[in-house]
Amino acid sequence: MEKRFKVSYFLNFLGVLAVFFLFVLLFENNAFGRSTQYIKGISTTACYTIIMVASLNLVVGCMGEFSLGHAGFVSVGAYASAIVSNGLTGKGLPDIALFLVALLAGGIAAGLTGVLVGIPALRLRGDYLAIVTIAFAEIIRVLFCNLSITGGGKTMSGIIKLSNFYWSFWIMVVCITVMYMYVRSRFGRTVKAIREDYIAASASGINVTYYKVLTFTVAAFFAGIGGGVYAHYMTAMIPTNFNFMYSAELLSEVIIGGIGSITGSIIGASFLSSLPEMMRQFSQYRMLAYSVVLVLVMIFKPGGIFGAWEFSLIRVYERLTGRKGGWEKSRKKTEGGV
């Protein structure tokens, strides 16, 4: 491993740790007075929204295809994890193990749904794919409205509250890390090649369908985990929560943040999910404002606010220490060695 990567991983870990301890410090010292508990709740909301939005960004940004049915995968994850955790409570498992098992179950259920939906749907592209994903999400919703195990169209309540901010934060960190690594891996690069020109990609021996379904499945898996955190935070849910509007909301957060930028997704999701909570009295204007911003972004900056730009601690570090271009040097060195 190159030295720069080691430094980069170390720096990123330090950064995440610093953010975490900042939050711990703020919350444990009751920095916000009586509304500390409330703000903690909002931060948890932001955590699971970030997971969902970043997972949708895999499809929209990395693969360049539209999914307007992401709420369907979220709902599969939410219901599956809730059913598993309901079944396992009182079996002597510690809370954290129970939570992780439930989330994993939610993620796997959503991932399987992703495979089932992806294999037929990803034969289509563009507008038609968008419409088909809506159709699948609606079918999932109708299914949950009719099955007795999911409450049969009524509110499913009594899910134990396992999502607290600290756990959700670390789950979010792990999910984001894995997704980021996926995008930067061989798989991610292949998918980007397919996005740029799928005919050229398949001509150079890439199995287009396989990689598309794989990405779709990974996205669905993380959407399911996000749904699991959601379910164990809300403790009650109804299938109509996960309607077309919810998918549209997630998609607009992806696009406003930046198509293909995980940084954009994190900032977009955390701002867009916490701002309306802070300004309760304007909550009815929230979607109105989203849609106006969305149109403006499309007209003036079609790639989203952050475009494909990613925040990188090592770049900041290099700029601060004046070692700008260190990466170029090290690459030249390795090339010379070869």
Binding site: G64, F66, L68, P120, A121, R123, L124, G126, D127, Y128, A130, I131, V132, I134, A135, F136, E138, I139, V142, L143, C145, N146, G153, I199, F244, M245, A248, L251, S252, I255, Q284, Y285, M287, L288, Y290, S291, V292, L294, V295, M298, I299, P302
Partner: protein, 296 residues
């Protein structure tokens, strides 16, 4: 199933289908010309329905017949359609299909939420625009407004077909999707043609709003989105871009929905979406559409 139930469902299905068909005509026109799914089309119906809600009592108050408000609704819907096109869609037209789709989705969200802010989330009851008696056919009460709905749908389709096939602007509308640059060279004002298409499509949405309100006299701010989606399914089923296809698809979707509702009331939506998935996977060009190969 008794015969009368069957017949009643047939009538209901045709009525529902005619509404879908009218909406699908608007979708098919816009998609046929600029290859863009106009998500906001369903919301134009909502605007038409709110216009009817406010203008019908006004007309009755002024002593005029209530159906005049339909013309107002048509004008307002066409104006909104043109406005949406000029303000939002025109700037992103060159930016590719993804931007167009996002913008259309954003406009749909915008119109829906604007209506919620302006009129509230509560459903409003629209006054009946015409009060027609029912006639008894073969032992089944057959409401005349169902026949009127279907009649208006067929007439609209025929007019549109004639308009597209034989007028000058109709010819221009067919030329633009085939080759935009060549049609500019041939002296067609492409922007004008697209704006015209939106005006006609939105005006059709106003007529669909009238038909919808005659059957279900309720307006809500989100009535358009799901209905628009089903009408889009109808357009795809019949073959998008083909005008008789929209009519056929609409009627088929309406009939299937009503009959599935008889047997499995909770599942009818899933069946409608299932149809869409099957048709897109088996024959994406629809029943009446022609297969067009993709250029590399």
């Amino acid at each position: 199933m008794t015969f009368s139930l069957f017949f009643q469902s047939l009538i209901n299905g045709l009525n529902q289908g005619a509404i879908y068909a009218l909406i699908a005509l608007g979708y098919t026109m816009v998609y046929g010309i600029i290859r863009m799914i106009n998500f906001a089309h369903g919301d134009f119906i909502m605007i038409g329905a709110y216009t009817l809600f406010y203008t019908i009592p006004m007309m009755i108050h002024a002593g005029m017949p209530a159906w005049i408000s339909v013309f107002l609704a048509v004008v307002i819907c066409a104006a909104v359609g043109v406005l949406v096109e000029v303000i939002a869609y025109k700037p992103v037209r060159r930016a590719g299909s993804m931007s167009a789709l996002i913008t259309a989705l954003a406009m749909s969200l915008f119109l829906e939420n604007l209506a919620m802010v302006l009129f509230g989330a509560k459903p409003h009851n629209v006054q009946k625009i015409f009060d027609l008696p029912s006639v008894n056919v073969l032992g089944v009460a057959l409401p005349l407004n169902v026949i009127l709905t279907i009649g208006i749908g067929v007439v609209m389709m025929a007019c549109l077909q004639i308009f597209i096939k034989s007028t000058k602007i109709g010819k221009a509308m067919r030329a633009v999707p085939q080759d935009r640059d060549a049609s500019i060279l041939a002296g067609i004002n492409v922007n004008k043609v697209i704006t015209m298409t939106f005006a006609i499509g939105s005006a059709l949405a106003a007529v669909a709003a009238l038909m919808y309100c005659a059957k279900y006299p309720r307006v809500t701010n989100d009535m358009g989105s799901m209905m628009g989606l089903k009408a889009f399914i109808a357009a795809v089923l019949g073959g998008i871009g083909v005008i008789p296809g929209a009519m056929l698809g609409g009627i088929l979707v309406g009939l299937i929905e009503i009959y599935v509702k008889l047997f499995a009331p909770g599942w009818y939506e899933a069946i409608t979406y299932g149809i869409l998935i099957v048709i897109l996977l088996v024959k994406p060009s629809g029943i009446l559409g022609k297969n067009v190969g993709e250029k590399v």
